[in-house]
Symmetry: C2
Subunit: 492 residues, 2 copies
């Protein structure tokens, strides 16, 4: 473990509803399970925020010296559209629309999901298990739940018996729901069908003849319910009890409360020590969701193709924008918010890029670097508080700018520390990319430099040189367009 | 379907050992199954050649107007090291070495495999099913083989009964082996163990207690044999009979002959109409293989980190090199061969990049463009003959170069056709990338241009300009290093 910093990490636990010191179950090993996407359409930016937030948590735990086994599943079984286990299978429905086989839908949107997350520079999980890849494990777990008396078979389907469960365990702990309320709520659901009680949820559903994604089971041909895959895969790769289970806030109920019920009914306990939930991304003040149509996709932002926004914004601007809010707060996406994040991110990068060329000496710095470094860790240790961390980074940027204009002094050893600390927090922990390093940016800077030299040559009436630069650029596919004292260029 | 070109496609079928006209089973739909990698280590360049070749076939079928369902599996069940079903599970062995869980090995090398293939600009398959994701389907198929009398259960394992099978069907059709020879060969194998006959192969193996990757089955806890996954997944996604089954030449025997036996024993027929096998990539004349250590990895070539090669070569150079040989011929990798491919590829790109600026008029071209286009298709229709196609492309490059220096005439309509045809063959079919477009290449060219201008400035004793260029470059993070009349640069 790196230093003793890890001892100070505090994590907000959705179970206890308070910040708790983070104590791992197995020393320097941490097991973390995060609910991944259902791959039947493009993930919207709200989903991206969840995965960006858990990437931060993963990266910070690694930075503290933990060896993390990070599991993020792919839900590729087409679960039913409604929470009451009715409706059509989402993936098969999409397959019909696209006239392809369900697993082609799965492949297409899994590939797309990976490519979107790659654009945010997220680390890949250690295992990305699929629901269809763990049907046997799900069946085995359902068999155990039945054996323990918490589920019943009806017409080839299996349902979790919540009334029986509630005799021995508390249900609805995460969502903080009273079981009486849940019963009352579920009474209003249309038709419980073959369920003993309407609030029971499906562990296995019998497949109709026309249902495409189905498997043989002890109860006949069918497919697993929505909640069992995470319990089965979490157990397979992290054991009965692991450290962190996470997901978007909308998964608290019913998904995560059902997961807890499933684990308790087999192993007698909540599968995770810490439950972490990330909050919503709203769009101009309204909830973003696939079904309501009020959603924005990452590529629309990168390409500037959504008319809500005045221009395109880079993936790093978007990520920086997300980190300007704490992961447990609602964050509202708007054109102004992104423009302002872009300015902030550029200011941060500009300051960071100054460090190399700062003048430094052996005198004392006019800034307490060690205190600043410890403040940075303190903010992250406070439940991964990125907005406070960013504010700390800007404290130092202010100092850097002052050193740059010669109004503050920087010690040479401190210069090294500042550079190193920025690299750790900006690149290793926040996972940002120094976009000024990118080749596109570099090409553009180099062309501007050539335009400047050519402009000087023309002032000095060195037309031989100015023509040569024009021709050489043209050979490289870059066409100059001269207007009075200015030149622009286009790629041909 | 685009034009009538597809009617002329001929494919070499490993079953008949001759070129046959390609006739699809379902009109404009084509089903193609290609055996993917076992993800327990890094794929070497020989493996890459197989996937590059099938990418070409996939792209060409699409170009002809077919709707192709391309399935390429991931073998993530750790099969045993030896063909006689003995030895250690390869993935678990690797997991022990890397001190991680087997599915982490799978994830790591699957991610790496994807990233390597991405660097070659290969299209993604429509479905990339995993063996662990289809245990139920494999069990179901084994049950059918047993039911039909072609397999037997022994101590919790299931073996394919080749003697019984050979009473009704021919075995070894692909590898052209005589069953008597196979029996004689397999006698020399050490210990048949519980098999009735040493040549029988495992469909399901009982797992020892220490075996990690294992599943419940009708025969107890175990894991599938090596050959059954492709039969089960091919059937699931492409049906009993599909168009193309492909893989590297080393898979002909036993893997593909066993697959055929499995399908015949359940469905009474060979699963694929056309079997396509790609030949080996040798290294300096010797067979490349993981186990012998005589192998090169793609990244070593891209980074120039393998001492066999004098410098780095780009992924497109490597791909162009592969296409300079026909996929059914052995291809030898060496420094000279790559250097020469690099020259060839640059010549091709240079010629292509000239097209836009060629002077054209309304007079007749000094080159029969339509004949040339039809020749290009003819070469590809001849069992995807890329070396002959490349030779055709160079025929036209010669003409382009002549037009460029004014010694040949180009008609304006033909100019459009040439551009379009080059784009189709170079980018859509061969899947090459115009590297001169890349920003890395562009930055490097721009820096070289600035170095040239600075060099001229120094000759002209314009030290103000030369110093300014040096300082401006440094500001962009590019440090010049002057040596006599030459300057090199490095990024800082």
């Amino acid at each position: 473990m790196k230093s003793n910093l890890y001892k100070d990490l505090k994590v907000f636990n959705s179970i206890s509803k308070k910040k708790e010191p983070f104590v791992s179950l197995n020393g320097s090993n941490v097991g973390m399970y995060v609910c991944g996407p259902t791959v039947y359409n493009t993930v919207h930016l709200g989903n991206c925020r969840t995965f960006v937030s858990f990437d931060l948590i993963y990266r910070y735990l690694i930075q503290l010296g933990y060896k993390v086994r990070y599991i993020r599943n792919i839900t590729d079984v087409g679960h039913l559209e409604n929470d009451d286990d009715s409706g059509e299978d989402k993936i098969s429905k999409r397959a019909k629309v696209e006239k392809i086989e369900p697993m082609e839908v799965v492949q297409k949107y899994t590939n797309e999901f990976h490519s979107i997350l790659d654009s945010f520079n997220l680390l890949k999980p250690n295992i990305e298990p699929t629901a269809t890849g763990h049907i046997i494990e799900q069946i085995e777990m359902i068999e155990k739940i039945i054996k323990n008396g918490y589920a019943y078979v009806k017409n080839g389907s299996v349902y979790f018996d919540l009334i029986n469960f509630s005799k021995n365990y508390k249900y609805g702990q995460l969502s903080n729901r009273n079981f009486e309320d849940i019963i009352n709520e579920s009474r209003s659901l249309k038709g419980s069908g073959e369920k003993k009680n309407p609030q029971d949820f499906a562990l296995w559903k019998k497949a109709s003849k026309s249902h495409i994604m189905k498997w043989q089971s002890p109860w006949g041909i069918g497919f697993p319910g929505w909640h069992i895959e995470c319990s089965a895969m979490g157990h397979k790769y992290l054991g009965k009890k692991f450290d962190i289970h996470g997901g978007g806030i909308d998964l608290k109920f019913p998904h995560h409360d059902c997961e807890i019920a499933q684990s308790k009914s087999v192993y007698g306990e909540n599968p995770a020590n810490y439950w972490i939930h990330t909050n919503m991304l709203t769009l101009n003040g309204k909830k973003m969701s696939k079904s309501s149509g009020n959603s924005v996709f990452a590529n629309e932002i990168f390409e500037g193709s959504n008319k809500i926004f005045s221009k395109s914004f880079s993936s790093m601007t978007l990520k920086f924008f997300m980190y300007q809010a704490h992961y447990r707060n609602i964050l509202d996406l708007s054109n102004d918010a992104l423009s302002s994040a872009e300015k902030g991110y550029n200011k941060l990068l500009k300051g960071f890029n100054l460090i190399n060329n700062l003048e430094a000496n052996t005198k004392k710095s006019d800034f307490d670097i060690d205190k600043w470094i410890s403040n940075c860790y303190e903010k992250m240790n406070d439940d991964f508080n990125t907005p406070m961390l960013i504010s700390e980074l800007f404290e130092c940027i202010k100092f850097i700018n002052n050193v740059n204009i010669g109004s503050k002094n920087l010690n040479i050893k401190d210069k090294v520390k500042i550079k190193k600390t920025f690299e750790i927090f900006m690149f290793d922990i926040l996972g940002l990319i120094n976009e000024t390093d990118s080749n596109t940016k570099k090409s553009s800077d180099l062309i501007q430099l050539l335009i400047k030299i050519r402009h000087l040559a023309r002032i000095n009436k060195n037309f031989e040189l100015s023509d040569q630069i024009r021709d050489d650029l043209l050979n490289l596919g870059i066409q100059l367009n001269d207007k009075k004292n200015e030149s622009s260029y286009k790629l041909i």
